[in-house]
């Protein structure tokens, strides 16, 4: 069952024939006005065909290729099989073993690196005082001297003139 618009379009394009044509023209309230409108539409169509020719596509092959690719990707069935038929993902068991092997290699390398730099019991270097200062406001006459004793293996920072404090300051 065609709608009025479809019948109207077919009538304008002279595609209605026989019984359909007679029935449609009988249904028109003003056949003369409709005929005038049909003529105008046909004139406009002829004019457009004459002055607006379809432009040829310069890169037709490219668009065809794109369309084919798009259609292929949309219609492809997702599978876990690769193009060569081999499995893409490793089984869980193999992944676990690969991870464990990597960890073992890491631990082994760490162990050998640590062995190359063993922690000695005593450093061959004495500790060093790089710089020192007293608060000149609290202890204006204080002096600082640094000693490094290789015999005792100690470094001493010797201060003189710090403000003396009462014995209660010796509490824990």
């Amino acid at each position: 069952m065609k709608t009025f618009e479809e019948k109207w379009t077919a009538w304008i394009d002279d595609e209605l024939t026989g019984h359909d044509l007679a029935e449609f023209e009988a249904s028109l309230p003003d056949l003369a006005a409709a005929e005038a409108e049909k003529r105008d539409a046909q004139k406009l169509g002829a004019f457009l065909k004459e002055h607006l020719p379809c432009r040829a596509m310069g890169n037709e092959e490219f668009f065809h290729h794109q369309l084919r690719e798009r259609i292929a990707s949309e219609t492809a069935v997702p599978t876990s099989q690769g193009a060569g038929g081999g499995r893409v993902w490793w089984p869980i068991g193999r992944l676990v073993w690969v991870g464990a092997t990597a960890l073992a290699i890491f631990a082994g390398v760490t162990f050998f690196v640590m062995r190359e730099n063993p922690a000695t019991d005593q450093s061959q270097y004495l500790s060093q005082i790089l710089n020192a200062r007293v608060d000149p406001v609290v202890s204006p006459n204080a002096t600082i001297t640094m000693f490094e004793s290789k015999e005792d293996k100690v470094t001493v920072l010797w201060t003189e003139g710090l403000r003396s404090l009462p014995s209660e300051y010796a509490s824990k």
């Binding site: 464990a100 019991d121 270097y125 500790s127 005082i129 020192a132 100690v154 710090l162």
Partner: protein
């Protein structure tokens, strides 16, 4: 199946042994606030001071060395800070980045309550103590000790 078990056992042994070795790399810094004075009946020094007692006597001449505050810090990252404190004194220690085989670089500040008395920067080597002579306290002397153990 047997081969896999052997591999797994090997893996765990390696990991455990590697962990033990890595643990051995961490070092402990002992820092102490010590009051040195002369008394009629000196108390024996605390365990941390036993091997230093003779050195302390040679340098400072007192017969008793008593720890009034201490802390023990395991250096994990090498960039850490901690505090050793007594009732009135606190020693703030800040280990800086850039430590190498020759020692740990540390910034130290001695506070008497909120007053900054002394500030110094040092490079601490293992088993090579730093001893700092602090202020006179009563008839004794405040000493600060730092040892990488």
């Amino acid at each position: 199946m047997q081969r896999r078990s052997v591999l797994l056992l090997g893996l765990w042994l390696t990991l455990i042994f590697g962990g033990v070795q890595a643990g051995n790399g961490a070092q402990t810094v002992w820092s102490g606030l010590v009051i040195a004075n002369n008394v009629a009946k000196p108390e024996p020094p605390s365990p941390e001071l036993i091997y230093l007692e003779e050195t302390l006597k040679d340098w400072f001449g007192y017969n008793q060395y008593k720890v009034i505050g201490q802390s023990r810090k395991v250096l994990v990252t090498g960039s850490e800070d901690w505090l050793a404190q007594s009732k009135y004194f606190s020693l703030h220690i800040d280990s800086k980045e850039g430590n190498d085989k020759t020692g740990y670089r540390v910034n130290l500040k001695l506070f008497q309550e909120s007053n900054l008395l002394l500030e110094w920067e040092a490079k601490l080597s293992k088993e090579r103590p730093i001893i700092v002579k602090g202020p006179q306290v009563g008839d004794g002397q405040l000493l600060l000790l730092l040892v990488v153990q």
